[in-house]
Subunit: 108 residues, 2 copies
C-alpha cells in the first residue's frame, strides 16, 4: 500500500464536498477532496498543523488568512498553523484536490 | 506567499535531478523535483519522517521498501520512516514530481 492512485478516489457527492482518505502516517495524512460545482469547505483553522491544498483538476477559489486566489491544476495553497483557510468551487466544473495535513491530528 | 505554482519551478538540469523548494513550515516541506530522462534519486531512507512523491507529469519507476512500481500523473508513492525509497526516470520524457516530507528535518 505504498503506491496509490488519486484517480481511484475521484467520487463526487451531490450534497457536499467529498473527502476520501489516501493514506496516513503519524506525520501526515493525505486526502482527495472532490468539490462539485458550487460546493465549498468553509474557512476554518488548525492550531499546530500545516495544511496544503494542491489542485489536481479544475479551478477553485482559495482563501488563506485575508487573501483569496483562484488556482488551477499545478497550483497550491498552504496554511500555516492557526491561519484561516478554505476553498470554494465557483466554476461550473468539478474540482479535485490533493490535501495534506501535517502532523496527523488523528494520531497522538 | 501562501499561493504557489509548481509550474514556475519546472526547470531541469542536464547533470542530475533538480530539486526546487516550494515552501516549508515546521511540519513539512514541499519541493518540485524535475527528473530528466535517465536521471534518478538513489534509494535512501529517512528515520523519523514520511516522504511522499506525487507525479505531476511524466512517468517514473518508484521503489518503496522491496516494491517497485511505474507511476504516472495523478499517482503517488509514500515511504514511512525508515523505509527505503527512490525514483528513476526510465522513460524518454521529462518527469515532474511534487515531493513532501514531514516533519521538516531542517527545523529542529
Amino acid at each position: 500500500m505504498s503506491f496509490l492512485d488519486t484517480r481511484s478516489r475521484r467520487r463526487f457527492s451531490p450534497e457536499k464536498l467529498a473527502k476520501h482518505n489516501l493514506f496516513e502516517t503519524p506525520h501526515l495524512f493525505a486526502d482527495v477532496y472532490c468539490v462539485g460545482a458550487g460546493q465549498n469547505q468553509k474557512p476554518h483553522r488548525h492550531d499546530g498543523a500545516t495544511k496544503v491544498y494542491y489542485v489536481i483538476e479544475g479551478e477553485g477559489v482559495f482563501r488563506v488568512g485575508d487573501e483569496e486566489r483562484t488556482l488551477t491544476a499545478g497550483q497550491l495553497a498552504f496554511a500555516r498553523p492557526g491561519e484561516i483557510h478554505g476553498v470554494e468551487n465557483r466554476s461550473g466544473k468539478e474540482l479535485v484536490l490533493l490535501v495534506t495535513m501535517a502532523p496527523n491530528p488523528n494520531v497522538s
